[in-house]
């Protein structure tokens, strides 16, 4: 319905003249349910001073919408219904709004009060005659008599009164059907929550965590809003009135974070990051305050704030979607579904459009949204995989180019200067030395290139290559100094998977130890022992050199670096050194 028409109708309703005669509802034996619809009168008592006695003397206004709706208000609302009971069936009056705090039914027969009953979530749930989250009045009416029913209702939430008379058997069928739908919905929410939680648990990608919590809290919000919290968990405790705001706020915070991660709109809208985060914090503070201080218009504030947030998120998503981001387009579609539902429910609650079936709008809207978001997340995962693949290819390409072109050039440089050195040695020893220096330098550059290629080549991500690299390094370094060496490396280590940074630290320690032996120890023999036992990795490097004074060496930088690397690896470093037995380094850690 058009908003303008809705507003117009709203004003017509405000100024409408009191009805002269009110229609009578017949509860006959052929009927199973009767919707009150327009057949009731409404009176809004903003001072909350009227009593049952005084209200009977005042004319009621004829309701303009099928569901009397006062939106969010501090007023007391009175409803008057004329009923003629026929047949022997038992009848009940359902008010499909679990958010009423206090609603009292007065049954008047021939100007005398014959029956009264009080319901609403201000009372403990045990006081309910029919154990359901919504107020259902028992009507002990006598056949072929007419009654006037007065309802007096108060709520800190939306004060609307969807009224239906139910015959007993039909009432139970109706309630069972409704609860089945809600059961399916909450099952869906739980499933999505758990699924995304497990995704987060496995991938540790925080977007799934945020999404999972968002869905969970949004589910909790509806759980509270539609009275399940009252029915099953906290009855009429203080938390009851404010719980939906609390959970809506929480879900808003996580939705904001989810959106920020998902859309990543910082590049296009740099101001957004700050704004959205601030808004999330304001939300957080807002709902915390609501736990202590709550009034009916908080709802209006929250709906407005939520609408603004959704608007901004949609705005940024529209921008990104316009720029061609497929993820933003899906996001827009998803949040669009919810926004429409929220908008409809908001207008229903404010009384701008007829208020029937509001719960199903939110339910359907959020289900669409959640399904579309899941699709969008799947799309995101796919594009991330593609991106990873692309990066892998780039790495491959870089390392191949480095390997083939730069490596080949450097090795020819080395070879050329080596061959020239040899050729010219006898004629011009000075020039020969220059050539020697060039080849030394280019060999060094070659070594750096080799390391770099090794680091970026994706094939070397396996630890098999990694162990080989240690072996090759030891062979090169010890071989160059004519140091005899022996490597005892546990074969099972080749199947070990290390995080890359841990592997790098470990390799650097190994390199430094081997270099120290080659350069400083004066050893003729070195031993490397590397094994894994009971989940503990143990590296032992020893030589038969002249050793060093550990106390003195601790002052220097070499050992400090050693210790620092060992610390960042979470390893225990043991050093032993003496002129008689050489040096022994032991490193133990858990991978």
């Amino acid at each position: 319905m058009n908003t303008r028409i809705a507003t117009l109708l709203f004003f017509i309703w405000l100024i409408s003249i009191p009805s002269l005669a009110q229609e009578c509802i017949e509860l006959g034996s052929s009927k199973v349910s009767v919707s009150v619809g327009l057949k009731c009168g409404v009176l809004e008592d903003s001072e909350a001073t009227l009593t049952l006695h005084s209200v009977q003397k005042i004319p009621f206004k004829k309701t303009m919408s099928t569901i009397p709706n006062s939106g969010y208000t501090a007023s007391v609302v009175w409803v008057k219904i004329n009923v003629l009971k026929k047949g022997e069936k038992r009848w009940y009056l359902e008010i499909d709004n679990p958010r009423l705090n206090d609603v009292t039914l007065y049954v008047i027969h021939e100007k005398k009060l014959v029956y009264t009953q009080k319901l609403g979530d201000g009372l403990p749930f045990d006081a309910y005659f029919i154990p359901d989250r919504i107020p259902i009045f028992n009507l002990p009416l006598v056949s072929n008599q007419s009654y006037t029913l007065y309802l007096r209702a108060v709520s800190t939430e939306d004060l609307k009164l969807p009224l239906t008379f139910w015959e007993e058997r039909e009432l139970y069928a109706h309630l069972a059907g409704k609860n089945l739908i809600w059961g399916i919905y909450f099952g869906f929410i739980l499933l999505i929550t758990l699924y995304n939680f497990f995704l987060w648990f496995v991938t540790r990608d925080s977007i799934y965590g945020h999404y999972s919590l968002y869905v969970l809290f949004f589910g909790a919000f509806q759980f509270c809003l539609y009275g399940f919290g009252y029915q099953y968990i906290w009855s009429n405790s203080v938390f009851n009135d404010r719980s939906h705001i609390f959970f809506l706020g929480l879900s808003g915070v996580f939705l904001t974070y989810f959106s920020l991660y998902f859309l990543d709109p910082y590049k296009r809208f740099p101001w957004l990051k700050l704004f959205m985060k601030t808004a999330a914090y304001v939300f957080a503070v807002g709902f915390t305050v609501c736990l202590f201080w709550y009034n009916f218009y908080i709802n209006v504030v929250f709906i407005t704030a939520a609408a603004i947030m959704v608007g901004i998120q949609c705005y940024s998503a529209i921008g990104l979607a316009w720029a061609g981001s497929k993820m933003a387009q899906l996001y827009l579609l998803a949040s669009g579904a919810l926004s429409v539902a929220v908008l409809v429910v908001g207008m229903k609650n404010l009384g701008w459009i007829p208020a029937d079936n509001q719960d199903y709008y939110l339910m359907a809207g959020s289900m669409f949204e959640i399904v579309l978001f899941s699709l969008a997340l799947g799309y995101r995962l796919r594009s991330m995989q593609l991106e990873k693949l692309r990066q892998q290819q780039v790495r491959d390409e870089i390392s191949t180019n480095l390997h083939d072109d730069l490596g080949a050039s450097l090795s020819s440089l080395t070879m050329l200067s080596e061959l020239n050195r040899r050729k010219i040695q006898k004629k011009d020893p000075e020039l020969a030395e220059m050539f020697g220096r060039i080849s030394e330098r280019s060999r060094e550059a070659m070594r750096l290139v080799r390391e770099a290629v090794w680091e970026i080549n994706p094939h070397n991500d396996t630890s098999e290559e990694w162990v080989d690299r240690m072996v090759t390094f030891a062979q090169d370094t010890f071989g160059a100094r004519q140091i005899e060496f022996e490597l005892l490396i546990d074969d099972s280590l080749r199947h070990e998977q290390f995080p890359i940074d841990q592997r790098r630290n470990f390799f650097l320690i190994f390199k430094e130890a081997v270099n120290n032996i080659a350069k400083h120890s004066g050893a003729t023999h070195a031993k490397v022992f590397f094994e894994k036992k009971n989940g503990v990795l143990k590296l032992l490097i020893s030589d038969n050199g002249h050793g060093f004074d550990i106390a003195q060496a601790t002052e220097g930088n070499g050992l400090k670096n050693f210790q620092k690397r060992a610390d960042s690896l979470g390893a225990v470093l043991l050093l032993q050194s003496s002129p008689q037995s050489g040096t022994c380094i032991q490193l133990t850690f858990r991978a």
Binding site: L410, S411, M415, E418, K423, R443, R450, V471, Q475, L487
Partner: protein
């Protein structure tokens, strides 16, 4: 006199390296070529004892060339030249029939030594390559029919095991209680058996699979 043929695609290096080899006593250059496309013709004409083969060249690859040369001239020893210590490729070349490898940035003296070592049967194996060879022998005796397969003798296995540990010939000789020249002899046999085994259908298939998966 050791007759040497050289395959190398960079012109300056080819020329300087041939000059160096020519000037070395006991070595004779029979020819230096930019690619191995006509390797068989060259072998027939030059009859070298040792071939220095670049692992990566334009035209057919060094590894492919090794396979063709070894198929027709099993007595020719081939030394691979490589820019990096690229273990997978070196191992593939050795399986194809090469008897050793040398890094291109090695000194000319080292180059000449390696040529002489290879002409005697095989250059020393690095621990990483030795390990690959050892696993290959261990893993593939089931893949080939018995009559085609040449198993390692216990001493050869022991020598290979010592090479995996990085021991020098001297230490290997000490540990196996044999002389250094016997170590050389065993190494030569290991290379020979590896080449023969790699040439059999079943193993070359398994090997190809292993290479493509690594």
């Amino acid at each position: 006199m050791i007759r040497v043929a050289l395959f190398e695609d960079i012109k300056e290096i080819r020329e300087l390296l041939s000059e160096t080899i020519e000037n070395c006593e006991g070595l004779l250059m029979t020819g230096a070529y930019a690619n191995a496309n006509d390797a068989l013709k060259v072998m027939k004409r030059d009859r070298p004892d040792v071939v220095l083969m670049d692992i990566q060249m334009s035209g057919i690859s060094g590894i492919e060339a090794v396979r063709t040369i070894k198929a027709s001239f099993p007595e020719i020893q081939i030394l691979m030249q490589t820019v990096f210590e690229d273990n997978a490729r070196i191992f593939a070349a050795i399986c194809a029939g090469a008897s050793g490898y040398i890094l291109k940035d090695a000194s000319p003296e080292r180059y000449l030594d390696a040529i002489i070592e290879v002409s005697q049967g095989g250059a020393p194996m690095s621990p990483v390559i030795a390990r690959k060879v050892l696993t290959m022998f261990q893993g593939q005796n089931t893949a080939a029919p018995k009559e085609e397969y040449h198993e390692l003798s216990p001493t050869e296995q022991k020598v290979l095991g010592c090479l995996v540990r990085g021991l020098s010939y001297k230490l290997i000789a000490d540990e196996c209680k044999i002389s250094i020249s016997t170590v050389n002899f065993h190494l030569k046999n290991i290379y020979r058996k590896l080449h023969v085994n790699s040439a059999t259908e079943a193993i070359s298939k398994a090997l190809r699979q292993q290479l493509t998966s690594s």
